[in-house]
Symmetry: D2
């Protein structure tokens, strides 16, 4: 009810503020008997963690996850997996400059309006630090999906006006992790990295787009009406900090298309049902059809910039926020693994839900 949980059968509940003792969560509904690859979980956490490259924040958090329950002799037991990630950076800083001042386009003002007060240190609960918990759960969800042959690939497809125009089907995804911006086309990646560095030097930030391409999804996932697969994917993506839009398949382009061009013609090929085009993005009537699922997620530029900005304080007086600290000039390179995590959580939830669709 307070919005700290996601999923119906495969559930993640999270807790934690940016500068409290720890962040963490409970993953409930993981089927028993899954042999966990602990290293793979930490690899994903490292893909998200701050300080990993010159185009991310230089803040340091080792982000080592500690599992507290639900795993016995390396396997899941069917009981809830409790975990925590201690906050190492929690004590030192001085936050008096944001205590009473509302930073533009942050959640300071709205938290105060909603709750009457807030833990203002480092953004408190509204900090994207919380997404580390999503990555932990997502990494476990990926291991469930792997057994079903589902592979999720997210990547940066736009930074400011630099767009990756190669269709997903033609990309070499083995390159995504080869560069710090996580764009599978190396020429585009180079331009993106240069742009982010230039923006950082100006003390400014910049937006971007993360795309996802998911293969091996069995047909039948997703529920009619309100819990359409793309509706749950969309909600999960929109719940990531800084996301402003979501589109799947033909997306907003569909608005300017005709039905005769947009319809995906069914064909049978090698005993497999496929479609000639995939404007549907692998989902029809809210249910997966076995074709690749693809979607795009728009991220705004990070609100914290290294420039002074006008604002108001708690009492409504005009004030100024002074940019300082170590912040991301562009959030998309670190968001790639978060997009993957959310997609994994949604897909495994629907995979379990689908186990009860037929007698």
């Amino acid at each position: 009810m307070r919005g700290n949980s996601i999923g119906q059968l495969f559930k993640l509940h999270t807790f934690g503020e940016s500068h409290g003792a720890a962040i963490g969560g409970i993953i409930d509904g993981v089927p028993a008997g899954l042999q966990l690859d602990m290293e793979a979980i930490q690899v994903d956490l490292d893909r998200r963690k701050p300080g990993q490259s010159k185009i991310t924040t230089q803040r340091k958090e080792s982000d080592q996850v500690q599992f507290l329950s639900g795993i016995f002799e390396g396997k899941t037991t069917g009981t809830p997996i409790g975990f925590m990630i201690p906050n190492e950076d929690q004590k030192s800083k001085d936050y008096s400059h944001v205590k009473d001042v509302y930073r533009p386009s942050h959640a300071d003002y709205t938290y105060d309006q909603k709750f009457g007060d807030r833990d203002y240190r480092g953004g408190g609960r509204s900090s994207a630090r919380e997404t580390a918990c999503r990555v932990v759960a997502g990494a476990i969800a990926k291991q469930v999906l792997k057994k079903e042959g589902v592979v999720i690939r997210a990547y940066v497809s736009q930074v400011e006006d630099i767009q990756l125009t190669i269709p997903a089907e033609q990309l070499d995804f083995s390159k995504t992790e080869s560069n710090i911006v996580r764009c599978p086309d190396l020429d585009t990646a180079t331009k993106m990295i240069e742009r982010i560095e230039a923006v950082r030097k100006e003390g400014d930030t910049v937006g971007g787009v993360v795309s996802a391409f998911i293969t091996g999804v069995p047909s039948g996932l997703g529920e009619p009406v309100f819990d359409k697969l793309h509706a749950d994917l969309g909600k999960s993506m929109l719940s990531i900090n800084a996301v402003k839009g979501f589109e799947y398949g033909s997306g907003f382009n569909a608005a300017s298309m005709r039905g005769s061009a947009h319809n995906d013609i069914f064909e049978k090929e090698n005993n497999q049902v496929t479609t000639r085009t995939n404007f549907s993005g692998g989902i029809q009537g809210g249910i997966s059809n076995g074709s690749p699922i693809h979607f795009r997620v728009a991220f705004k530029p990070v609100a914290t910039i290294m420039k002074n900005q006008s604002t108001i304080d708690k009492d409504g007086n005009q004030a100024e926020v002074q940019g300082k600290g170590r912040h991301d000039p562009c959030v998309v390179p670190r968001a790639v693994v978060i997009v993957e995590a959310m997609a994994a959580l949604v897909l495994v939830d629907h995979l379990l839900r689908n186990k009860t669709s037929k007698i």
Copy 2:
């Protein structure tokens, strides 16, 4: 779990197939003591119903809602409101031509994959006829919101390449219902209507965009992390048939912007906190800030076209679907009230949820 419910405190559960006995639902969580305006509910149903103008399907359904419970002497009692809309058109038609054939970009194939079989008459559960139930519940939600001063205005802002470029703040919304395409700018409306008529004559269909502009929303609505207000709005919009994308505030444009341009500077004006710009779309950190909420919803062209298309049948043999019947050439004029309904459901749910945020 099967996706036929939406909302946590203000809930809508729906049932019904296009050509069964009736569609209907239960609205649960309506606070007791609300004097209902029954006429306003029917007005909204009429805005959605088929056959209302030359640019919608010519099918006829009177769509008269029957309330079965939860209302006593004109007021809500706090008990669930059961309702039904009989299907008048249910018996006559012959559906043998779609019984075994998968219509392109429809849900025929995926329903069969998920459930093993389906009610194929008129699309069954996957028909947009189901959205009439959403309109009923949305019309009641609007009456709850009206008491709080919230006004929801949706309108058609794009049909194919014809775009309404006037910002929402400058539109005269009293014009929206004055024309059959529901675009508040009459010049643009005329062009849109002409385009839809031309497309219809070609036996084709076309996509479009519905925009929404919501004023009077109190600050504090929305929940941190997974149930951000825009995430719930996005999911609700993506759950509408034919929707391919959702963006709010700056939306996908945010991806190519800089933080210094995108940040909304706080100001105090006439003792009210406002922001100089509203790229946030009235929502910061997932919580409403009191500014107008605005978002855009992309609709694909209707999949049923009056042209023959290649496809496969249940056994995987190549087949052909022949367009016939009375279908919408463009869905957006009728979708305006559905977008309003979904927004109303989400907002009133969060309004109730917010009643417990503080001690």
Copy 3:
């Protein structure tokens, strides 16, 4: 949230007041492909309906259920099953005598406290008429369970001080429906019937106990910690009108037992794990162990009696309620099928939930 739904995967949502247009509900989560036995559903409704014998109320309702969706060519489709039961008796009566007066041990006062007002006709939403909807859903749940070999038998085991002392294992359940009080031992049944008739003649009412004995339950149903199988059974029984207590297995007797006598010793017999005794009632650690599940449900005497009683009215003035109308002298004979229905709903819900417990 308003308490009109039960179940997590196999859900029942109900609506309806005693004297509104209809009662009804939505059964959501019924797996697709189940061939429905419509007659069996009506048989269960008839076991609950008023006017069925001289020891029940003489009110007449035919209680014919109308299914509105979710069934196609006799089979479930996986989409929600909407249904309604019209209220035939709805218009004629005069309820002015209870409009402003709080009947003792009814819900009149508490509904007014909670909702500010109420539909006072025939008890409105608090009337046990609502349980007819449970019976419809329960009858479908039974058909799912039947495929798994689960058989639910409920019966009257006590009326006032007349107790059935024969253990469930030794009862001949084919006799339960052979007599109007639904006690499988005919000698006891005769005494119970006589007692109820005597009580009715005095214008009074009397309490009783319904017992249940369920065989064929697979091991593994129920969830650790909060959703233990007996906890969900208990809640479902306590939600039935007039229920005051629930015990399973050894029940309250366990409080005066020693561990050495109470422990159920495991044995292997004919390649089946069983226990020497069954004080556990077929449930250990909240999870079914394959032994018969047995429990008891206590019902209070019906609050409506044919005698004048002192009370207060809405304004707090002393008043009198005059017994009139046609009411049940004892609720347990009609409650047998409701107990079965609730047990079926809980069991099938856990059956579906259990499908995702292991990888």
Copy 4:
């Protein structure tokens, strides 16, 4: 879905096995702005912890709770409260004797049936150690209730055949914590303590009853139909380890009563609506009426006894379990605070739910 959560608006999610790294949970939905009394929380934990007296297990766990989030400067912030209690006793023991053997009337067999395997150390997830998390959340719930004037008093009312027969209204609850068995009547308490000691010496265990008496509950709490207040109380009590039955108000005695004797006559006294008797137990139609809520909870004798018992092992071979270790001879003295905690969780959940019942 896996049953590790309770509550709808005030939610507790728990995790943890008896001998894992830690147990803990997330309390979600605590309203912001509540000044927490940390000492009161630890006091309740100490009332539950092992080793507190000669009639409880002599095992030692300090049960110090660590809060990880959701609290800032001593006050709740409206964000989830994460907490953990490290398991101190976790490493040392040898559990090889129970690894492959099913202890009678424990959850060993059913966990294996459900999940395929289990963490067998100290009962794993099925251990009552998990209830410490409930006590933490319950202690916070009590602080919310205290602001509303609600006082929850639980106490031991039966140990084997020794019953406390004094009505709750006449008890001096200041005595409950004055003795180690937690019976407010000192004569009865002495007998109970002697009995438990005698049973312990025999290597056996014994059952009992915990009663609760709750005053100051506002009228209007509880929801019609499925979430009746007593149904939620019943479920929460039945979810406690070793509980076999629940009754409220007149309970099972109601089955042998007449309506004319059982009905609670309304009266107005000092401008307050009361009832002459309280067989309703403070709840009518599932909704609180302002009178004291009272109920009884039956506990079976602890399954672990210090005697050898016959059983089977994983392969179905006959085996023997040898009692050893330090276990409770009778669980009710330590269960008193757990009963209080569960009652508090249910009541505060319904208190929040009720905030949205009227317009």
